[in-house]
């Protein structure tokens, strides 16, 4: 039988993907799990495996096309029937020879117009019987057209017919996804209220030129990543009431420790020790001290997360990506340097894996590398806060009764005010600050 391969869900909050490169072509035989096509989602590029062995049939989505999860990508034919997944009355009865040959020769006549489950199954049985006789297997058009829409009741058929509705476009909310009469009515309703695509723009008739002239400048069409970032940022601000606060951190201890250990560290691990690594460690300690900063807001409660999975904002290409160090609090500074290093490397090369990007409980942004001194980041949902380490700038500060020059870094925290109030935020920042300011060249890195 033929089955429709659909856009899979490639990540927990992924709702759509863009077709990348087709790895197979119509007529090609594929094994089960063999990759059919590349799909690009907001962060990850993945390959869609064939759900069963078969022959690639019609390609339903072109390269560059954006599809929602569940939309059809292609047809896979000649798939062995392991068990019927269609609801129906019972087993199909044996099909007599002359009928089965008629069905194999002309599946369009047999199945197309009526498309009732019993008739589709008859056509499939006939085909299955014939396939062993080495006849070319032909897909039942009903399967791709009607089969996925479920049972079409007389009322739905009549209404869709009268109103010239393409049933395959209607979303079914009835039993087992059945399209109900109401679904068709709502579909018609939506079609009336949505503005027609090719209608002239609504503007004063006297100045049609003004409303239709393009804006000056060039255009950058949205990449999937840009869309994903845009959606997330809007949603994040709409979900969490963002509050912001900061502390100044004297990084002289960290600077001294880095200077003392840098070359030895590189020799031992191949990694350049940076302020970020110390920042990661201190953030983990502070999250343990203030667990509500490592939490999720739910309707009835604040869910404190057991694991500390620290996300690191990394600039890539035209956007940003946030790979996650899982169980970050279990690492030493050196361990964090290695774990973060590997993640950042993969992210920058576009090779971030799905598990690299999932499960974050808090995010750290090393904006200082970019030169800014104060940043108001947007929370990475559904986390409780996002911490930015801005630039380390040598400044005159008061030490004792005198002035000294110290490397000062602003630590800026955007936090979800539903979960934490100012006091907890301040406690958290204070903990990061204390931890960083306690670092000396004698601090243990491993």
């Amino acid at each position: 039988m033929a089955i429709t391969v659909k856009m899979p869900q490639l990540g927990e909050s992924v709702t759509e993907g863009t077709i990348g490169t087709w790895l197979v072509q119509p007529g090609q035989q594929v094994e089960r799990f063999e990759s059919l096509v590349e799909v690009i989602t907001d962060k990850v590029t993945a390959e869609v495996p064939a759900p069963a062995a078969g022959t690639v049939g019609k390609i339903l989505a072109t390269e560059g096309q954006r599809l929602s999860v569940g939309e059809p990508i292609c047809i896979l034919e000649g798939v062995a029937e392991e068990g019927s997944d269609e609801p129906g009355p019972g087993e199909p009865e044996a099909v007599p020879d002359e009928l089965s040959s008629a069905l194999a020769d002309g599946p369009e006549e047999a199945g197309a117009e009526s498309g009732s489950p019993a008739e589709v199954r008859k056509a499939e049985t006939a085909k299955a019987a014939k396939s062993t006789a080495a006849r070319p297997v032909v897909a039942a058009p009903t399967d791709s057209a009607n089969g996925s829409a479920g049972f079409i009741s007389p009322a739905v058929r009549a209404l869709a017919g009268e109103q010239s509705v393409d049933i395959t476009q209607v979303r079914g909310t009835g039993f087992q996804g059945r399209i109900t009469k109401r679904d068709v009515l709502l579909f018609l309703e939506a079609g009336k209220t949505a503005p027609p695509k090719n209608a002239p723009s609504a503007g004063p008739v006297a100045h049609p030129a003004v409303s239709e002239a393009p804006l000056p400048g060039s255009r950058i069409p949205h990449s999937p990543m840009r869309r994903a970032i845009a959606e997330h940022m809007v949603r994040s601000l709409q979900t969490s009431p963002h509050a912001w606060t900061m502390v100044e951190v004297d990084m002289s201890g960290v600077a001294a420790a880095r200077a003392a250990h840098r070359s030895e560290f590189r020799a031992a691990t191949g990694i350049d020790l940076t302020f970020l690594h110390f920042g990661l460690k201190s953030t983990c300690l502070a999250l343990r001290a203030v667990p509500t900063m490592n939490a999720i807001f739910e309707e009835e409660a604040i869910q404190l997360m057991t694991e500390i999975n620290l996300g690191l904002a990394v600039a890539v290409g035209d956007g940003l990506i946030v790979p996650v160090v899982r169980g970050a609090d279990q690492y030493s500074v050196a361990g964090l340097a290695q774990a973060a290093g590997a993640l950042i490397e993969r992210a920058r090369l576009g090779k971030a894996r799905r598990e690299d990007l999932e499960g974050g409980t808090f995010t750290l942004n090393n904006a200082g590398a970019l030169g800014t001194v104060m940043s108001q980041a947007i929370i990475n949902q559904p986390q409780a806060g996002i911490l930015v380490m801005d630039s380390v700038v040598r400044r005159p500060v008061v030490v004792g009764d005198g002035i000294a020059i110290r490397p000062i870094m602003n630590l800026c925290l955007s936090f979800d005010h539903r979960i934490n109030d100012g006091a907890a935020a301040a406690r958290f920042l204070g903990a990061v600050k204390s931890s960083l300011e306690a670092v000396t060249p004698n601090s243990d890195l491993f």
Partner: protein, 329 residues
Amino acid sequence: MPEITYVEAVRDALRDEMRRDDRVIVMGEDVGVKGGVFGATAGLFQEFGEERVIDSPLAEAAIVGVAIGCALAGLRPVAEIQFLDFIPPAMDQLISEAAKIRYRSNNDWSCPMVVRAPCGGGVHVHGALYHSQMLEALFAHVPGLKVVLPSNPYDAKGLLLAALRDPDPVCFFEHKGLYRSMRQEVPDEEYLVPIGKGQIVRPGRDISCFTYGATVHEAVIAAESLGHDGIEVEVVDLRTVRPLDRELIVESATRTGKVLVAHEANLAVGVGAEVAALVAEECFESLDGPVMRIGGPEIPAIPFAESLAEVYCLGPQKIETKLRELAAY
């Protein structure tokens, strides 16, 4: 307008018609001196005397048989069967005689008789086996009879008056659970409710629920519950089960596309089966779901124990569940 109970509406109809038409007489067990075990004929004996309000022996076949004779002789008799459960002995008279008289005499003779009986049970009716049955399907099967089941005092009075003026035999079954529990404003002046016409008591867009008798009220409660979830159930009180208001049934079913028939009487071979068949045949192309029925269980009689009667009886909850099942299809 005065508010009266269902049983008072029945009594008022009898009284008003007996005043208006000398030919109307009433006969049955305890209808005279006692005024009926439910008070349906209270005051009639006192007003109209023993010639027109007749206490009969405990003999249902005779009650109906004698009434048929009176009808043939030009009177307009009302035969009361004290509980519908007691009607089987009278069925030969009703089915083989009353129903066939006009037909077999080629219009020379007719039988303008009303057979009234309290029917139905319920958790608080405490009727148990022989004081609770709903047997309307047995009569709805017979051409030549009309079968009416009003669900409220207003319809009870109007339909009884219509039955009393009907030239052919009418079975008029009153739900005893509604007798005293249901009050309603009922006009003093004369009015008729036509036999053979149903009524939409609660309009809706998504499901047609055809029902009659006390079940109408349970269906309305169930419909209200679905209404809170945005599912609009149209409750249609059939009022007459023979002849069915085919036009109303088809119009409603065609409009909504989903049908549930609900009645207290046992589901198997009940009136619901006839309504469902009608819908399936006449409205097939408009259906958006299977035609469903809900009715009494496959149990010979309602138990006396309240806890068991609860399990037996329909009630708004079971109707609601069935409606939701249909709505979700």
